[in-house]
Amino acid sequence: MAASLTFDSVTKRYDTTEALAGIDLTIEAGSFVALVGASGSGKSTLLKTINRLVEPTTGRVLLDDEDVTTRDATAMRRQMGYVFQRIGLFPHMRVGENIAIGPRLVGDNLSRERIGELLELVDLDPAMASRLPEELSGGQQQRVGVARALAGDPDLLLMDEPFGALDPVTRDALGTRVRDLHDRLELTTLMVTHDMAEALILADRVLVMDAGKIVADETPQALASGGGGEVAQGLVAVPRHQAERLKELER
């Protein structure tokens, strides 16, 4: 059962800067939402208010109509998948142990078969379970990161610039794989990215953030056909321009 999310007047203030300037938003169960914006626009901060790595200054975040602050943060995080740019595999644990860590925290031991299954979900050889993270390429490491996020059978997948450090080919392949898993496992997925092309291709709904506010909330189709306003179109212009240049080269 996928999860739904509601943000109710959420603000976050650090000393002088306002990272979130009053966010009201509802995300339906089962949607794949991309949060796009420049660095410092508040998109990561907004994502982290969900798993309480960031506590809002004011306002509430509701997960399935329940205020996240009323729940135990660690217990709640174990039911969410979290993938982020720095990957953060535990260097002293083998790949299999890394994947099984979430269930282990609540006393469940994942079977070898299950770990193998999870590795296959992200297109990795099950034999990799016995390797150490340092023996893997960056792309392989982030695939393990995704497998780790899925190990606890989450309803909600949070991704913070998940493919930011990967080469373009890996990035494209893994992005497609994650979209595929989103559909297959019936997840609600939130992905923070600064890459509008990635957002347009993978998401059902694109939110554009600027200076702590949501300035556009559109489908990829609407953005592609010029909707969403100035900031959003500024971001859409980049891949559009690239595509046009490519087309010109083909002639």
Binding site: R77, F84, G88, P91, L105
Partner: protein, 516 residues
Amino acid sequence: MSGVWTALMGLGGVLAQHVILAACAIGLGIAVALPLAVWASRSQAVSRAALGFASLVQTIPALALLALFFPILLSLRAVFGEDLPTLGFLPALLALALYALLPILRNAVTAQANLDPGVIEAADGVGMNFWQRLRLVEAPLTAPYIMAGIRTAAVWTIGAATLSTTIGQPSLGDPIFAGLQTQNWSLVLAGCIASAGLAIIADALLGTIEAGFRHRDRRLWLGGAIAVAIGVAAAFVSQVDWSRDDGRDTVVIGTKQFSEQLILGRLVGAQLEQAGYNVEYREGLGSAVVAQAVADGSIDLYFDYTGTIWANQMKRTDNPGRDAMYDAIRKWEREVQGSRVLGKLGFENAYAFAMREDRADELGIRTIEDLARAAPRLVAGGDPEWFERPEWFAVRDAYGLKFANQRNFSPTFMYDALRSSEADVITAYTSDGRIAADRLRVLEDPREALPSYDTLIILSPERANDERLINALRPLLGTINVEAMREANFSVDRTDGEKKTPQEAARWLAEEVGLE
């Protein structure tokens, strides 16, 4: 070299004590440093305060830190009661543990601060709570660095533990201090070799554990840990007294750091053993420490000199004459300290100015009055206390002494300084054998500015009315004349082949004065 070898073979007991002391201090250091490091990793303020404090402690010389725990523990008796020991194992343990704190704490805090932030974010992100994050992520990743800190702490602590001899805790410092005092270089060398060897072995074993953590090689770190555990356990086992309790009363004799005190300690110890007592020695205690130690019962008896008690403890600067001073001291010890002055041993060990015969002739000096005239051109040498003592101020003011330069020497090196002309005149001790051996001239004191220094036996308050002990000690009173004491002192201080240990000299002295 065979002397060093023989000395090394005799170090088993103090080696074990040294291992126990260092291991306990490092253990305590770890037990305090690690929780503190965890706390510091969660709070910048705690991190700064803890590291600041540990660095501050580190700037205090180890010897001073050890000495400081004596008054600290003494004042803590108000809280913990009179049974709190102020000398020996406890203060040594506390001072060394404090010393071990910094490297462990610093490495732990640094390792924690340098953890990959991505790993910490992941730990939180997968839903680890405080303890899970500590146990599953932070501890294994910082372990090699913490182990490196423990290694540094171990090497420091093993070295600094030699200084605990000065506060009455047996350690590998015992042979070093005793050898330094009696110029027995084999003993000094043996103590240094044993202490350095121990540090090297500890460093290697802890280094093995560190490498095991670093390479996540369980066999390696477990092997290292087991070897350390066996070593420490062996030290403990060797110190267990397997003999059944023989019901004999144990008397603890304290002595100061110079030969005469060591000889007297052994002389009295032998007498008490004959009388059916077990005897323990706390040798090489500081002058102020030993006096306080007898008053609080950490030791049962010690030897002191009337002039020392008069000036150091009673803070008197007048000189009422020998008998009046003695009576006042007996009264003061009884009423203020609760200790008992049992009586005089028979000889005096007073301060006196001494010069080389040839130099004194050349300058025409026979008395301190003559000395005062020549003083502006002369260098005076004294033991580390002398130029701070009221006797010095008294004699200085009585004769108007003003030297060109004043230098401090350890009592042993003072005579060498005279021989090598680094000093023209020294404050010698009248019972010192080297006065006769070096044919030194002792300057007369026509104005009687220097007080008397009769040697006393002083008993702790608990022993003040112990008739059995008093009867065993009484035959010693008044038996030791200054000539015999000088010869005994010289037999220990001499550096040629005739050199004796304090124990041998004590045996000779007992025979000489007819005690056997």
